[in-house]
């Protein structure tokens, strides 16, 4: 069969799954007065369409910021405006100022779902397909299988098409993916442009910013800061500044505007964490109520320090030895550090970690699959709230089966295939009996999967005791957090021991 036929089939499967999930319920369906993220998105269309640009981020009688005020960068607002024009064409009631609040109908749901699908089809899916085609050192069949697995990743599908994230993840992640694609194919300027767009679409993309910065800086250093490297650095700086200026142009006219947007983007006063989220602070909260004990600014400093320390080694390594592979792994570990330690993390932010993990799926299939399963599991309370149990179970199973068959992950658990060879060799210098690493990891996988399945079953079937109504969701967060910590250590080990292995192999060859 021709390759492009197979690729077309893979994309079609991805689209079918996406649309099927989108037939389900969304967040806040029929739940006045606040509704959910779906209503937020619709509300932004209303605001951006009816109010002048200057008032978008300001509280006024027409724009109550307490009711889903716009708190994302300008590009999101422009996207909402674009959707609003389409909505106006179809049915002006959908975006009428004030009166459309809480508007729900089948046709409107269809419209909102279609906007997601179109954005996905234009930005995320082409990036995935192109990325898989550009992968080196694997057969065409593997590339297609890789594309299938990435497209079937349940977390993104469920959040974008089921829950209806109040910001289209596929757009920001798609831009980020274009960025990764550009940077690793040596089109640095285009790559950084795409990434700037991603940041301007969703500020959470800053999780990925450091690796981009370090990788590009490392490249400049490598070319020599006095010659080509400097030129590249200047060009990159120009591109970044220009794209930011373009996106923010309407808000640069007054100082107060810019500050207000920034205040909306980084709501420091919302606390260390809000809902149940699988990061360190929320899990630690079970034992010690940090949120109530420490003053806010200390929380801020503390989380900043932890984040910074945890991602420092990987970033320094990347500056010193910029490589495309190291870049991808650093993306994972940085995003994971941010997710685990930073301030005001949302449970959906795990998607920002999942994207780079999807990118290394073909290199460490076993660990990536495991991580992606855990990441989907960590959003379980959220998905249950939206009545998305059935789609989550089905898509997760489909994803798992796709990964198992296309990568035969259970046969790829040797130290070499887990990329832990050089690490275990160096440990063995001190501990000669350290030979059980791969078996330990297999057992851990088994334990982790069993816990996840059991917890899911318990959450679905049992009622929590009256004293602890949040028992199961806290347990879910706690278990996922433990898993994520383990992954953080694992990815850092890979990054730190990476080039040693490379050098050894070169010596052997």
């Amino acid at each position: 069969m021709e390759k492009w036929h197979l690729m077309a089939i893979v994309v079609l499967i991805g689209l079918t799954v996406r649309w099927t999930v989108s037939l389900n319920s969304y967040s806040g369906a029929g739940k006045p007065p606040m509704f959910g993220d779906y209503e937020a998105q619709r509300h932004w269309q209303e605001i951006t369409f009816n109010l002048p640009v200057k008032q978008w981020y300001f509280n006024s009688s027409d724009n109550n910021l307490q009711y889903w005020g716009l708190d994302y960068p300008p590009l999101t607002a422009y996207h909402s405006l674009l959707c609003a024009y389409v909505a106006k064409f179809i049915n002006p009631d959908w975006i009428a100022l004030h009166t459309s609040r809480g508007y729900e109908s089948q046709a409107h749901k269809l419209f909102m779902r279609t906007t997601v699908l179109i954005a996905d089809l234009l930005i995320y899916i082409p990036a995935v397909v192109l990325y898989c085609c550009c992968l080196k050192e694997i057969s065409t069949k593997k590339k297609i299988a890789n594309a299938l697995c990435i497209l079937l990743y349940p977390g993104l599908i469920l959040i974008d098409y089921g829950h209806f994230q109040n910001i289209y993840n596929s757009v920001s992640l798609g831009f980020a993916l274009w960025g990764v694609l550009g940077v690793s194919c040596d089109c640095d300027l285009l790559g950084s442009l795409a990434f700037c767009l991603a940041i301007n679409y969703k500020q959470m993309e800053l999780y990925h910013a450091l690796p981009f910065f370090c990788f590009l800086l490392g490249k400049c250093f490598k070319k020599g800061l006095r010659g080509k490297g400097f030129v590249l650095l200047v060009k990159l700086a120009c591109i970044v500044v220009a794209s930011f200026v373009l996106c923010w142009l309407p808000f640069f006219t007054e100082r107060e505007q810019t500050l207000q947007v920034l205040r909306r983007l980084f709501p420091v006063d919302r606390g260390l964490f809000e809902d149940k989220v699988a990061n360190i602070w929320c899990s630690f909260n079970v034992f010690l109520k940090i949120k109530d004990i420490l003053p806010r600014h200390i929380q801020l400093i503390m989380s900043f320090c932890f984040t910074f320390l945890s991602l420092l080694p990987a970033c320094i390594k990347l500056i010193l030895q910029p490589s495309s592979k190291g870049f991808k792994f650093t993306l994972v570990s940085c995003a994971l550090s941010f997710f685990l330690f930073s301030f005001q993390v949302h449970e959906k932010s795990i998607l920002l970690v999942s994207l780079p993990v999807c990118l290394v799926l073909s290199e460490i299939p076993f660990m990536s699959t495991w991580f992606l399963l855990v990441s989907t599991f960590s959003m379980l309370p959220l998905l249950l709230k939206d009545e998305l149990l059935m789609p989550s179970v089905v898509t997760t199973m489909a994803f798992f089966i796709a990964c198992v068959t296309s990568f035969s992950i259970f046969e790829k658990t040797s130290e070499e295939e887990l990329q832990l060879k050089s690490f275990s060799i160096s440990v063995r210098k001190y501990l000669p009996c350290f030979t059980f690493l791969s078996r330990i990891i297999q057992y851990l996988f088994l334990i982790s999967v069993i816990t996840m399945v059991l917890l899911t079953l318990m959450t679905v079937t049992l009622d929590p005791p009256q004293k602890l109504p949040d028992l199961f969701s806290v347990l879910v967060c706690f278990v996922s957090c433990l898993n994520f910590l383990f992954f953080l250590v694992y990815f850092n080990i890979i990054i730190m021991w990476d080039s040693k292995g490379g050098r050894n192999q070169k010596k052997i060859s």
Partner: protein, 533 residues
């Protein structure tokens, strides 16, 4: 949700809460029980599981009852019954050897066949989106075909008899079964030249076959015979009160006939040949109604369709050349299916023979039987009375088995499935379902075309320019019907136009596929084999 949910809910309620004697008399709901008794028993068994999901759905008077648990139960019952279908597909895949083309799994005929059957777009949307229990019925049919391939004739006959008492639409293909079993099972030997050795007739086999069929029928209809309700059962099973065509014209011969009638009447009105007062109003205003009255062409009666169908199946008019039939290859029926080493002896003579006669005079083993079965199904779809568009699946699924065997069959199969599946689009008419049906259809079509092309890449291309053009035309048709038309001013005035266009366009393709299949069955030997000599 489609009305079929309510239909099956009602049947669950009827079989659960009423005694057998009431099953075929109950008429609280308009969806009366009109399937044969085995299906009623099947619903009865299901209802005993259903009561653990939602007791309320088992109440006969609870019309149009629908709860999320009812829905869940009904969906799951279809999925669960598909296990039989999957098993049947596995058995079918065992039967075909196919040529060894590629080493890779995905290029093997078995793999392709299993995907073609399991991912069949039509079955998927009819069963799992529209909601019906076709999966396990087709499973029974495929299983009985597989048994015939494996020379386990009695089992095959038994399964088919059971199937008939589940859903009587399978009567369409019964002639193929009957003739094949009679010819290849009851006659134990052939003359060297392939004609029947009359003396080899085995009464024991005939009687045992008859006994199997009789026992199954007795089990099914016996209770109603004892209750003296048989006429009532039959009147429910064969309602001739309905019109020639379904509300939406199935893409068959009658769709073309009706369309021609319409065109003629319009032309007649324009040229003043027809008096506007004499024209029945329904035909011009609503377009698609149950009782379609022809204005120019003669109206069609049930008997006429029956005759047409029989002619298509038997084709008596074609006056079989008997002597030619007897001269046909002797060893065909001894050869295993798909083995191409059959001696070419007398098979050079291309005879023109109708399908059933081919099966009798030129028995080609199970493969010939399969072609005949497909042709029977397709012919009755073409000419039958009040045919539903879903009936096209009856031809598509057996045809899948043929498609992986020979390039010619593959080409017919692709035209038939693509048009046939497209003609099912009106089943799913709500906007949220639109992307799903398009995506699934594309998925299946791209897969079937590309995989069969790969399988037969060494032979001549599967489509000629005309067929390619026709198939590509489905795209613009879909765009016109579902994306452009709703925004035009004709939507209110002529709401039936998209359905009409779809039906007529697909009818052309299906008629073409039927004709091509017919010709390929009649002209024997296949051209490929004569060239080899």
């Amino acid at each position: 949700h489609s009305t079929d949910f309510e239909v099956h809910r009602n049947w669950l309620a009827i079989t659960h809460s009423l005694p057998i004697s009431q099953w075929y008399y109950e008429a609280t709901s308009e969806w009366t029980l009109d399937y044969p008794p085995f299906f009623a028993w099947f619903e009865y068994i299901l209802s005993h599981v259903a009561k653990y999901f939602d007791q309320e759905m088992l109440n006969v008077h609870n019309l149009n009852y629908s709860s999320s648990r009812t829905l869940l139960f009904q969906r799951f019952s279809v999925i669960f019954m598909d296990v039989l279908f999957v098993y049947a597909v596995r058995e079918c895949c065992k039967c075909i050897d196919g040529k060894k083309v590629g080493k890779e799994l995905t290029e093997k005929p078995k793999f392709i066949l299993s995907v073609l059957l399991l991912w069949n777009f039509g079955l998927l949307i009819v069963d799992h989106i529209h909601f019906q229990y076709n999966g396990f019925l087709f499973g029974l049919m495929l299983l009985s075909i597989a048994r015939l391939f494996q020379k386990r004739h009695m089992e095959g006959a038994f399964l088919f008899a059971v199937l008939l008492h589940f859903k009587h639409i399978y009567l369409y293909v019964a002639p193929a079964y009957g003739v094949y079993l009679l010819r290849s099972y009851c006659f134990t030997a052939n003359k060297p030249d392939g004609s029947i050795r009359w003396k080899s007739f085995s009464f024991v086999r005939l009687i045992s076959l008859g006994l199997v069929v009789f026992l199954v029928s007795a089990l099914s209809l016996g209770p109603f015979l004892a209750l003296n309700q048989l006429p009532q059962v039959f009147s429910r099973l064969f309602p001739f009160k309905r019109g020639l065509c379904h509300a939406y014209w199935a893409p068959n011969f009658w769709a073309l006939y009706n369309a021609l009638d319409k065109v003629l009447s319009v032309i007649g009105l324009k040229l003043k040949f027809l008096d506007p007062n004499n024209i029945p109003k329904a035909s011009m205003t609503s377009g698609l109604v149950q009782q379609f009255q022809h204005t120019v062409l003669p109206s069609v009666t049930p008997l006429a369709t029956l005759i047409c169908t029989l002619i298509a199946i038997l084709s008596l008019v074609l006056s079989p050349r008997l002597e030619c039939g007897s001269a046909i290859s002797a060893h065909r029926n001894l050869c295993l299916p798909w083995s191409s080493d059959s001696p070419p002896s007398a098979s050079r003579v291309p005879g023109i023979q109708p399908s059933i006669f081919c099966l009798w005079f030129k028995p080609q083993g199970p493969r010939g039987f399969l072609r005949c079965l497909t042709l029977c199904a397709l012919s009755s779809f073409m000419f039958g009375w009040h045919v539903h568009e879903k009936a096209i699946l009856l031809a598509i699924l057996p045809m899948s088995l043929l498609s992986v065997g020979k390039a010619g069959d593959a080409s017919i199969f692709l035209i038939l499935t693509t048009t046939g599946h497209y003609s099912l689009f009106p089943l799913l008419f709500t906007a949220p379902e639109l992307p799903i049906k398009i995506l699934l259809m594309l998925l299946f079509t791209i897969y079937s075309i590309s995989s069969l092309k790969t399988l037969f890449r060494k032979e001549k291309p599967l489509f000629n320019w005309m067929e390619t053009f026709y198939l590509l035309g489905l795209g613009p048709l879909e765009v016109c019907c579902e994306f452009v038309f709703p925004f035009t001013s004709w939507k209110v005035k002529y709401p039936f136009i998209p359905l009409l266009l779809t039906s007529v366009y697909c009818a052309v393709g299906i008629t073409y596929a039927w004709f091509k299949l017919y010709v390929s069955v009649l002209i024997d030997p296949p051209i490929g084999k004569t060239k080899k000599q």
